[in-house]
């Protein structure tokens, strides 16, 4: 039962709670949207590319960014909406790079000579820029081995899963998620670490993501 051997370092679970801070900035047209995307803080880009995941954690996967939703549903630019929704966020290790990609997708679309520049949102349906203020707090949950780890995963909040999978990876600019890092470096199971790192969290609900993590680890425990 190698997988329940004590890890080199214990894994301390953190939780990350967020508060939405309003900026008072709003866009009515695509031109305004792209201009503001260039100027707003990174925490705004983070908020609008990750908000759906938390607010609709039980819904079937939603377009994981607010820009895609607004462009499609409010401006009626379905094609651009699809292009924005299909940006592969997993590719980006930095918010800066994700921001650049969003800007280039919108600017390319505008250059294609469509009438998109003429579209504007009705009053009250403008795009409102919001930023996330994150509070990172250590929880009382600590795992010394994989068996404990999977038991804790079953009961921690979505916020905690979110912190270790999304926040650590992108906002805090770590290359892989925290779970994979620990399993590779402290448990010493690179194969399992790689399997968890390969999960695309952006196309699942948080509930499904939790189940997938539990299932992958349990499978390894069972194989032992």
């Amino acid at each position: 039962m190698a997988l329940i051997l004590k890890a080199k370092e214990p894994f301390r679970f953190y939780t990350r709670l967020h508060l939405s801070e309003l900026t008072g900035l709003r866009a009515t047209t695509l031109d305004q949207l792209v201009k503001l995307i260039k100027d707003v803080p990174g925490s705004c880009i983070y908020h609008h590319t990750h908000r759906f995941l938390q607010q609709h954690q039980f819904f079937s996967p939603e377009p994981p960014n607010d820009f895609a939703y607004w462009v499609s549903e409010i401006l009626g630019e379905k094609e651009l909406g699809e292009r924005l929704a299909s940006i592969d966020i997993m590719q980006f290790a930095k918010i800066h790079d994700l921001r650049e990609r969003i800007i280039s997708v919108i600017e390319e679309y505008l250059k294609e000579g469509r009438f998109a520049q003429l579209k504007f949102a009705r009053e009250g349906e403008e795009f409102y820029f919001i930023k996330s203020v994150s509070f990172v707090i250590p929880t009382n949950h600590v795992a010394d081995n994989l068996a404990d780890f999977v038991e804790i995963i079953k009961k921690i909040t979505f916020d905690s899963i979110y912190f270790h999978i999304f926040e650590a990876r992108l906002r805090l600019e770590k290359k892989a998620n925290d779970f994979s890092n620990w399993i590779e470096n402290s448990v010493g199971n690179k194969e399992l670490a790689d399997e968890l790192a390969a999960l695309d969290p952006y196309t699942r609900t948080l509930d499904d993501l939790r189940s997938a993590i539990i299932s992958i680890i349990n499978k390894k425990l069972f194989e032992q």
């Binding site: 939780t15 709670l17 967020h18 508060l19 939405s20 801070e21 309003l22 900026t23 008072g24 900035l25 803080p41 925490s43 607010q55 609709h56 954690q57 039980f58 819904f59 009053e123 009250g124 403008e126 409102y128 919001i130 930023k131 996330s132 203020v133 994150s134 509070f135 990172v136 707090i137 929880t139 009382n140 009961k155 921690i156 909040t157 916020d159 905690s160 906002r171 805090l172």
Partner: protein, 403 residues
């Protein structure tokens, strides 16, 4: 008194553990809520649950009221309507009355909390008492298109606060202070939202002489022009041409709302020739509201403006299909065609009601989705968490705070 652990079966142990974790960071602080009424309306309802829960978490919390006479509350009602963009003249005398009463309260209210949390415009001027403590202004009103005269008057006070809190993104504008988005919430264990037996529901229907012989469409709201009860009757009449149903318009009054009686009388007048319309001015009785919501086939909230619209959360929590205006905080609660139907007009409302009455399976699915959405985003446990983070943010200016 409801205890935190009673929420565990609803939201899970870990959510409560997180609340306890955050609260440890607020030990020794006292939060002083101040508003203008202890009963009626959403603010008083939330505070009556929030303050004891904060205390149970070990955070000092108290709740104080300002005083005001009839004239003062008439003026603040005018302010309220004006902030919602409703036309109406605000005179120089109105501002004078507001300032006179405010000054009396400034002289009398002890603002001793480490954090003074002011709710709505009525007590806004208390910030003139500000000394070394932190001050928050909580705006529960839809200020997406306010009367500029009133807004500019209030701005003189708003800028003196550390931060403002709004219920929907569309209420925000450029301000020289920080501003946060925090939605209000409902308490699933309160008399208004807890599970009821069929016997209790039937008893309330019997009391108000509402037979169960046909589908019931209900709007629960104060009798307030901005809730558009007359528009609801018009929408019902359109529905009634095709589907035999009943309409229940029920609500109480708030002690700071002198306009309610007039709107109630207008609704009674409009409804008097139709025995299937039940216009009920209810005393403060949450069990009865709960029962009426649970007895309903469809719930409507056809507000013209809406600070947030907690009645929508209440209805969705009971897994009821909802038709609601696309205003204020309602679109945060209702995702169109997923957790309810949004409308923009009387015609739109009647069309949506017809759709739901004619398609019970679709209506049921919307209600079920709505309930999960409320569980995740609009229960008091989430609200408590956001408020505690808000209090902490007053002591931390950065975007990522390590505690």
């Amino acid at each position: 008194m409801i205890k935190l652990e009673e929420y565990i079966p609803i939201v899970g142990q870990s959510v409560i553990d997180d609340l306890r974790l955050i609260a440890t960071r607020l030990k020794g602080k006292t939060i002083q809520h101040i508003n203008s009424t202890s009963v009626g309306g959403g603010v008083a309802e939330i505070l009556s649950r929030m303050v004891p829960l904060l205390q149970e978490l070990g955070v000092g919390a108290r709740w104080d009221l300002i005083k005001g006479g009839e004239q003062f509350f008439e003026v603040t009602k005018k302010f309220h309507n004006a902030l919602h963009g409703y036309p109406g003249e605000i005179t120089k005398r109105d501002f004078e009355i507001f300032l006179e009463t405010s000054q009396q309260n400034i002289n009398e209210v002890d603002t001793c909390g480490n954090i003074v949390f002011i709710h709505d415009p009525q007590p806004i001027a208390l910030v003139k008492r500000r000394q070394g403590n932190k001050w928050l202004w909580r705006c529960h009103v839809d200020v997406s298109d306010p009367n500029e005269k009133v807004w500019n008057f209030l701005m003189e006070y708003i800028v003196r606060y550390d931060a403002a809190v709004f219920s929907a993104p569309s209420f925000s504008r450029r301000l020289p202070i920080r501003q946060f988005l925090i939605s209000p919430s409902i308490d699933p264990l309160s008399d208004k939202n807890k599970e009821l037996s069929q016997e209790t529901i039937d008893r309330v229907l019997l009391k108000y002489q509402i037979p169960k012989d046909k589908p019931i469409v209900t709007q629960i709201s104060r009798f307030d022009r901005l809730k558009d009860p007359l528009g609801v009757i018009e929408a019902y009449r359109e529905v009634k041409k095709y589907i035999n149903c009943r309409l229940v318009l029920a609500g109480g009054g708030a002690s700071d709302d002198p306009e309610g009686t007039m709107v109630f009388t207008q609704a009674m007048e409009m409804a008097k020739k139709d025995k299937d319309i039940h216009v009920l001015l209810l005393p403060q009785n949450d069990i009865e509201i709960n029962a009426l919501q649970r007895a309903s086939t469809v719930i409507i909230q056809k507000s013209i403006r809406e600070g947030f619209g907690l009645t929508v959360s209440e209805a969705l929590w009971k897994a009821k299909p909802v038709v609601a205006s696309n205003v204020g905080g309602i679109p945060l609660q209702v995702k169109h065609k997923y957790s309810g139907l949004l409308c923009h007009s009387i015609q739109g409302a009647s069309f949506a009601i017809k759709q739901l009455l004619n398609s019970p399976a679709y209506a049921k699915k919307l209600g079920e989705n709505g309930k999960e959405h409320i569980r995740n985003n609009f229960l008091i446990t989430r609200h408590l968490r956001d408020y505690m983070l808000l209090f902490l943010s007053l002591y931390h200016g950065e975007d990522v705070v390590y505690l």
